[in-house]
């Protein structure tokens, strides 16, 4: 019984959010870093019905709207992580090399504690993807991190539907040991990766042609008897949608050469690449990426963990941004996700970005990459009330996230969290001395 009480208290402690403010909120007297429209040293932000209604000085709250004084603190747009695998109960469908039919929407996991970890670091929107085991992985999804809500309520419906591709070592499984007598999965080389993607896109092209012919004959009623439709293939449907422009590609790539090959493929088949993922060698082909207008979603400085990451340098993100590439910093991790603002700050040191440009790496730029910059990514009237509040400048090493707000609702409140923790300790003052978690 006692154990149950303690457990439920712990659960309660963890499940701090959401403290609903009904989507209406006035933040007062903070330093507002709008990212696109300069900095207001001491200003207010009014959020009504989840949307930013007013940004400026001396705003008065309409009756019934909750007011939070954030004097001395910094307000930035909610942080956006363009590449994660959290809030999912599965990442890789490794049974096949081609799994375009798989959809991350089907495996959303709203109780994943990584969501709380993310909002404790000011993250409000994520793009959560299929893994990189397959040349063509699954379909991905963009979420608002409304901790405590149901999975369906988290879906950011306006975001582009995306399809994951992957190249290089993870796909060829270069680091996987094969047991005696066991054959490696095809493709096991970069040659095979290009070949298999081309094969599948060609199949999709022919699949579209079959359906087009069927639809055309149906329309023209050439035959006066019922036509047999082509076989519906869910895998090819996804790839056909890519070729029809209903899906955009997000391609995991590391080396510059394989990236160039993939760009060629996209020309060959006429599909859109929204973003290259990780691409530590982006600086080698900054010219091409800028010309193609393909974004990159990269690590700030994580490198050398495998051969294709051995030339991934911290000077890359800033350099590529300066060369006109749309750069975002991602976490790809349930830990790094809570300190993306730290990573952004390093682009000032390693490459000399301005503060606004550095902040864009984790706000506006990922929003553009996900097709949601009309709603999020900067603090502007008309956009969603997605906001993170920091006690010191968000690009300082000494900063701490105090509040995370999505559409005017508070989902992370450090002060409230600490209070709850204290209460829980009062009930169970003896620190737990055993090692494991629950």
């Amino acid at each position: 019984m006692k154990k149950t009480i303690i457990l439920s208290l712990c659960l309660f402690l963890v499940a701090v959010g959401p403290i609903l403010a009904g989507g209406n909120l006035l933040l007062k007297n903070g330093t507002i870093l709008t990212v696109t429209k300069g900095t207001i040293p001491k200003g207010d932000i009014l959020i009504l019905d989840g949307f930013i209604r007013q940004i400026g000085e001396n705003i008065t709250a309409p009756a019934g709207v909750k007011v939070i004084d954030v004097s001395g603190k910094y307000i930035i747009p909610g942080i956006i992580d363009s590449h994660t695998h959290i809030a999912l109960s599965g990442t890789n469908e490794t049974g096949n090399a081609i799994t375009a039919e798989v959809n991350m929407r089907d495996v959303l996991h709203a109780e994943d504690t990584s969501i709380f970890t993310a909002i404790s670091g000011g993250v409000t929107t994520i793009h959560t993807l299929h893994g990189s085991a397959n040349p063509i992985g699954g379909q991905n999804i963009t979420l608002k991190l409304k901790w405590g809500k149901k999975a369906e309520e988290m879906i950011f419906a306006q975001a582009w539907p995306t399809l994951k591709f992957a190249l290089g070592e993870n796909v060829t499984q270069a680091n996987r040991t094969v047991a005696g007598g066991e054959e490696r999965r095809y493709p096991a080389s970069r040659m095979g990766v290009v070949a298999i993607i081309r094969r599948e896109l060609q199949r999709a092209r022919e699949y579209i042609a079959q359906w087009d012919r069927y639809n055309e004959w149906q329309r023209l009623k050439i035959l006066n008897r019922p036509l047999l439709p082509p076989c519906k293939d869910l895998q090819l449907e996804a790839l056909a949608d890519l070729l029809r422009g209903k899906l955009v590609a997000r391609c995991h790539s590391y080396r510059s050469d394989e990236t160039i090959e993939f760009i060629q493929l996209s020309h060959e088949f006429g599909f859109r690449v929204a973003c290259f993922e990780h691409i530590p060698e982006a600086y080698k082909i900054a010219k091409e990426l800028a010309a193609e207008k393909i974004g990159i979603s990269v690590f700030m400085d994580s490198w050398a963990y495998k051969v294709e990451a051995a030339e991934g340098i911290a000077t890359m993100p800033a350099y590529c941004a300066q060369q006109g590439v749309l750069v975002s910093i991602n976490s790809d991790s349930n830990e790094r996700i809570r300190r993306l603002f730290n990573d952004a700050a390093k682009a000032i040191k390693y490459g000399g970005l301005s503060e606004d440009e550095a902040l864009k790496l984790i706000t506006l730029n990922p929003a553009i990459q996900l097709g949601v910059d009309k709603w999020v990514g900067s603090l502007e009237v008309g956009k969603h009330g997605d906001v993170a509040v920091f006690n010191e400048h968000p690009l300082s090493a000494y900063t701490r996230c105090d509040l995370t707000i999505i559409e005017g609702d508070i989902y992370f409140d450090r002060e409230a969290y600490l209070k709850e923790r204290q209460e829980a300790q009062k009930v169970n003052p003896k620190p737990k001395l055993s090692g494991g978690g629950q």
């Binding site: 659960l11 963890v14 709380f116 080698k284 495998k306 340098i313 390693y350 090493a397 090692g435 629950q438």
Partner: protein
């Protein structure tokens, strides 16, 4: 033939001596610089005088010898080079390539191995690290119950002997990590640490017995010497109290067991990791055991500890009176050392203490405070000139000196980029 060799050796040593003495006479004056000596008060504007390898004077009123090479430090802040209290620098190149990983020996008991004997001075991670103001690092083995012995290196030099400052520094013992918390995960091994410490005890007992037999045999010709045992030999300095143990320990229960173990065995010990230290801070302080933190870029070991457990842990331990040091616990991200300290400062650790915990405290903990860790007369001239706070993410480092020698700040970060800059920026 022999005579020629002798003459050659003589000439060589004269040459070496003369080079040494020329170096020793080189004088460097860093002027008009803000000085944060770490030990003692900050100097808003002053001079650091370096003669040869060492700091000769630090102050606002230092006479500059006419032969001194002048470095204008206007607008810059001088700090002592930072010390990474646990890293795999020189033993790790590319994670997925086993052939480039040398910090882990096979088996569970390897007290005989010494990290500094496998050092790769040319590691691409070293220039990145030193160009961020870190001038020395403890190179640490891992894996198994006794992974081996660590040594302290400076991040400059072309051969292992050129880099080694002190080796060995400690014998390492590694207790099991706490399995990660979270609602759906299984509980990890409990009370595992004390059982493994019993095993270490048994080994130390064997070492003592081994030594007794050796002494007895040396006194009495009738007795045979025990068979040479490299593992027990390596443990002798530990039982003599000459070589401290660095115990990698994480859960509160294991920390208590490790305190008891050190007290019972009367050994000098340092703790590493200590992610649940905040639960037993007073006990660690009372036992007077210093703590080296692992990477703060990690999740709390148990969800109930709170999302910020690792971040606030250093502040709680310092408040209780524990001597603390930070570490990168990495090679490829050893440059992150100052940010672990800053993160702790964001969650309760005093900022000055955070700075000390990457400079003078690690020097004291590792027994090299006479050589480094602060800008004081007589210490090695390991000096960093930064555009601002050295723990800040945005701060650019302008100059790094190791033993008085200015270090080229280029690294893979700059070199790889330079290689491709031209092709990208050429107008076609």
């Amino acid at each position: 033939m022999r005579l020629r060799q002798l003459i050659f050796c003589l000439l060589l040593s004269i040459a070496a001596l003369s080079i040494g003495s020329v170096r020793a006479e080189e004088v460097l004056a860093i002027i008009k610089v803000k000085i944060v000596p770490v030990v003692g008060e900050d100097i808003p504007q002053g001079t650091i005088l370096v003669r040869g390898h060492k700091i000769e004077a630090v102050g606002s009123d230092v006479a500059i010898p006419s032969e001194a090479k002048i470095i204008d430090g206007q607008g810059l802040t001088a700090y002592p080079g930072m010390i990474d209290a646990s890293s795999t620098l020189g033993l790790y190149e590319i994670g997925s390539l086993q052939a480039t990983i040398d910090y882990r020996e096979t088996g569970r008991l390897n007290p005989q191995v010494l990290t500094t004997e496998a050092l790769r001075p040319d590691s691409m991670h070293i220039p990145i690290t030193r160009s961020n103001g870190i001038t020395a690092a403890l190179v640490v083995p891992s894996g198994g119950l006794i992974p081996g012995r660590s040594g302290l290196i400076q991040l400059w030099g072309s051969t292992p002997p050129e880099m080694v400052i002190k080796s060995p520094v400690a014998m390492h013992v590694e207790l099991p990590a706490i399995s990660r918390g979270g609602f759906r995960r299984q509980a990890g091994p409990r009370e595992e640490g004390s059982r493994q410490l019993e095993e270490v005890k048994e080994l130390l007992h064997q070492a003592r017995f081994y030594e007794k037999r050796k002494i007895a045999a040396s006194k009495n010709k009738i007795l045979a010497l025990p068979d040479f045992d490299e593992k027990l030999e390596a443990l002798l300095p530990v039982i003599h109290g000459e070589l401290p143990l660095i115990i990698s320990v994480h859960s509160a229960a294991d920390i208590r067991a490790a305190i008891k173990f050190l007290q019972e065995e009367k050994l000098k010990g340092i703790f590493y990791g200590v992610s649940q230290g905040w639960m037993v801070a007073k006990e660690i302080a009372q036992a007077n055991i210093p703590v080296i933190f692992g990477s703060l870029h990690d999740l709390p070991p148990s969800w109930e500890d709170g999302y910020d457990a690792l971040y606030r842990n250093p502040g709680v331990l310092r408040q209780a009176g524990v001597k603390i040091a930070f570490s990168s616990s990495s090679a490829s991200l050893a440059k992150e050392l100052p940010y672990h300290a800053a993160k702790a400062a964001a969650f309760g650790l005093d900022k000055r203490e955070a700075l000390k915990a990457v400079t003078i405290y690690p020097a004291e903990i590792l027994g090299v405070a006479d050589l480094m860790g602060s800008l004081e007369k007589g210490k090695l001239a390991n000096i960093v000139l930064a555009e601002g706070d050295i723990l800040e993410l945005r701060t650019v480092i302008r100059h790094v000196f190791i033993q008085g020698q200015e270090i080229d700040l280029s690294s893979a970060y700059t070199e790889f980029l330079e290689k491709y800059r031209k092709r990208n920026e050429k107008k076609s």
